[in-house]
């Protein structure tokens, strides 16, 4: 093979790798989360309210506290966490916290839950509109802490969430619409 052909082949392989990396998902094979759940937010976007609708639809008992702090998890009685991942400057402003404080909060809560043997289900359902610098901060830090992630595909066009899940060996389900999240979310619970 001539040198230039090798280069072209390698470039094509690299492109294929990029495509493949973006498309591949590891699906959840069996339920992982115990009931009841705690529903909270990572980033204070309105997505947590949408997840609340989904939780009602799948009839999994839960309590919701978008701003729960470390130390409060045990008292909640929850046996798993569902976290709506998405940053909102409006939401953070309303909560009176900076993104750093919010990130520290949710990380501490997840750590406490994991210590208690609880599973973490991460959802990113805001779509492309919810992606941006602020949201990506939460996505990069919180997705790797999850035991299972469900994403609305439009919000994962660049494959970031796929890459994060692959790297941490986290099962990931991708759906096309928010309303379709119910299916995999319900199946995640024992």
């Amino acid at each position: 093979m001539k040198a230039i052909e090798r280069i072209i082949a390698a470039a094509a392989f690299a492109a294929a790798f990029c495509f493949a990396g973006a498309a591949q998902t590891y699906k959840l094979k069996a339920p992982i989360a115990d009931r009841p759940a705690l529903l909270t937010s990572a980033g204070q976007s309105a997505d947590v309210e949408m997840v609340k609708v989904l939780m009602n639809r799948i009839k999994v008992p839960y309590t919701m506290n978008a701003q729960i702090k470390a130390g409060e998890f045990k008292a909640s009685g929850a046996k798993s966490i569902v976290v709506a991942i998405g940053g909102s400057s409006k939401g953070l402003g309303a909560a009176g916290v900076s993104s750093d404080v919010e990130l520290a909060r949710i990380k501490a809560v997840i750590a406490e839950a994991k210590k208690a043997g609880c599973r973490i289900i991460g959802l990113h359902i805001g779509g492309e509109a919810r992606r941006g610098q602020l949201s990506d901060v939460f996505i990069r830090d919180i997705v790797p802490l999850c035991d299972y992630v469900i994403v609305v595909s439009e919000g994962n066009k660049d494959g970031l969430i796929t890459q994060l899940c692959q790297k941490a060996n986290i099962p990931l389900d991708s759906v096309d619409k928010i309303s379709a999240v119910s299916g995999p979310l319900a199946k995640a619970f024992k």
């Binding site: 090798r6 280069i7 390698a10 309105a46 989904l54 779509g127 492309e128 509109a129 660049d158």
Partner: protein, 572 residues
């Protein structure tokens, strides 16, 4: 060497793949060309409405009014019957252009100190009759955020006074009525609905209309708005009185007051459109006709162009370090003037003549250094955080008739209040006032809040219709319109390219640059001392322009739709 080539190729491919994810849909099909008529609007469907009206024998105003009503249905997050705006018209048989000012006004019971603040300085929420308050500031959410809407009065005034009279109000409004039951949810609208999900949950009428079983409508869905259809039919039958008096007016007043506001049926009945002369200027031999106060837009578009006219922008090239530096410095000065002087001229004396004069531009120019950046006084700019998620559209035909219109309900989905049974989304344009006494733009009863809307017409050196354009995007409207004009006149870009080209905006502090601004230029600006914030490749809030141009040499009309949102031009 081979390894380097391999790595570079791989990197380029991967980056291309990544970059491709951020590009707007239909990027290369937003423009249009034709011989008889052209429209450019923020939605493909409303563009088609405009073309259909022109084909039926309507003039540019008929088309603009039809688009205006249709746009309110198709882009309900950005404009509608509950809002207001400005339209500039120059028909071929008119010696002078006119501006139709249908901006909202403060209700009669409004006062300069009507908004209250907590000990932390944050604005408090409006208080409802039951004593409960909103968690959001009163100029943002709830009944107290709304000015008396002018949308219906303005559109029908334009039709009555400048329409062709070949088409009736019924014919002009019918397309909007038809679209009410099949509003397509685009990515743009879906994103806006998601972003406002928390506010929809505050108002049952909003929840009912814009959520599907409690979740946001998503791309590909269709929204039906039978209440809005009924409201439009009432207006179609009764004219402006159908909105400003009777059942609709009573419903508006009742709901606004139920949500903590002060608009009354008398306020609605007393709403008046103002017809004004445009703010005018020249730029390299072209005549600029734009929107005067109560919009700051036109005056400052002219001022900005007056300053920039002193630079050889063609030689500097688009988006080079030097060109961007001069634009940024000029923008800072223009915004400083806006903050100091601008208000509703019915209440405040505004030096429009001075601000639009070449002499004043020379004074401002003298403050701009070739190699140092301006450090502005640290005075607060209360309008820095204005929203103005607006819509704009342009119409031109081969006779030289031109209309540009920009209208809005301010923030996407306005105040969140939807009048039950009517489909009307109320504006929150009271947010465009300075909410405390002591400013030129403080609140007074009947006063129009300062706007940045800048629907603009450009005549060529022979006084012929050359360009119409306008933009959405709050204060960034001013800088967007000026840059597009320069792109066409200085850089000789076709209108679609001129609109699509990356833009900046700057006010004291930072330069906000779209991601496609050349990296070398960003580096150059940074080395000069500018702080440059990089935004999306096609930033949906960087001023979203729709415009048309007439090439008299080829007798061809061109339209450009902005890919930053759903902009589309159509022609025939």
């Amino acid at each position: 060497m081979k390894r380097v080539l391999l790595l570079v190729t791989s990197l380029v491919l991967c980056l291309s793949f990544a970059a491709a994810q951020s590009l707007p849909a239909d990027l290369y099909t937003r423009g249009a060309a034709g011989k008889k008529g052209v429209v450019a609007t923020a939605k493909p469907d409303s563009a088609q409405v405009g073309i259909d009206i022109l084909k039926k024998g309507g003039n540019a105003v008929d088309a603009a009014v039809a688009i205006g009503f249709a746009q309110g249905v198709l882009e309900p997050n950005a404009n509608g019957l509950g809002g207001g705006g400005f339209m500039i018209i120059k028909l071929a048989n008119m010696k002078q252009a006119v501006v139709i000012d249908f901006r909202e006004v403060a209700p009669a019971a409004a006062t300069a100190d009507m908004y209250k603040f907590g000990p932390d300085g944050k604005m408090l929420g409006a208080i409802k009759p039951d004593g409960s308050t909103f968690a959001y500031g009163a100029t943002y959410v709830g009944g107290l955020a709304s000015g008396v809407p002018g949308d219906v009065a303005g559109l029908l005034y334009a039709l009555e006074h400048y329409g062709s009279r070949k088409l009736s109000r019924a014919q002009v409004m019918q397309p909007a009525i038809d679209w009410c039951m099949k509003v397509p949810v685009t990515a743009n609208l879906a994103g806006s609905i998601k972003d406002n999900y928390d506010r929809f949950k505050l108002f049952p009428a909003a929840e009912k209309l814009y959520l599907k079983d409690g979740l946001p409508y998503e791309v590909g869905d269709v929204i039906q708005n039978p209440d809005l259809q009924r409201t439009l039919k009432i207006i179609q039958a009764k004219g402006a009185k159908g909105f400003y008096e009777g059942e609709i007016a009573q419903k508006i007043a009742a709901e606004i007051q139920a949500e903590g506001g002060i608009i009354t049926v008398e306020d609605l009945k007393n709403y008046k459109v103002q017809e004004r002369k445009p703010a005018t200027g020249t730029y390299r031999g072209y005549t600029i006709l734009s929107t005067p106060p109560a919009s700051s837009g036109g005056t400052h578009v002219v001022e900005l162009l007056n300053i920039m006219e002193n630079y050889d922008l063609a030689a500097l090239g688009p988006n080079t370090t030097k060109a961007l530096h001069y634009w940024a410095e000029a923008m800072k000065l223009v915004y400083a003037d806006r903050a100091k002087y601008m208000a509703d001229t019915a209440f405040v004396k505004v030096p429009v003549q001075g601000l639009t004069s070449k002499e004043y531009a020379k004074e401002r120019l003298a403050l701009i250094s070739d190699d140092k950046i301006l450090t502005m006084p640290p005075e607060g700019d209360p309008w820095k955080y204005d929203s103005g998620n607006t819509t704009s559209f342009s119409v031109m035909d081969s006779q030289g008739n031109m209309v540009a219109c920009t209208k809005s309900i301010n923030y996407f989905f306005g105040s969140g209040v939807i009048i039950p049974g009517t489909g009307i989304v109320m504006n929150n344009h009271m947010d465009d006032f300075v909410p405390k006494p002591g400013s030129a733009n403080s609140i007074e009863p009947g006063k129009r809040p300062l706007s940045s809307m800048s629907p603009t017409l450009v005549l060529d050196s022979k006084g012929r219709s050359f360009m119409t354009l306008g933009a959405a995007g709050g204060m960034r409207i001013i800088t967007a319109v000026a840059q597009v004009i320069s792109n066409v006149i200085d850089q000789k870009m076709p209108i679609e390219d001129a609109i699509s080209a990356p833009r900046i905006t700057a006010w004291p502090g930072d330069i906000y640059a779209e991601g496609r601004i050349p990296a070398m230029s960003v580096d150059g600006l940074t080395k000069m001392g500018h702080k440059v914030q990089i935004q999306d490749l096609y930033y949906p809030s960087q001023g979203v322009c729709q415009g048309c141009v007439y090439d008299w040499n080829t007798r061809t009309l061109y339209g450009g739709g902005d890919p930053r949102r759903d902009g589309q031009a159509k022609a025939y």
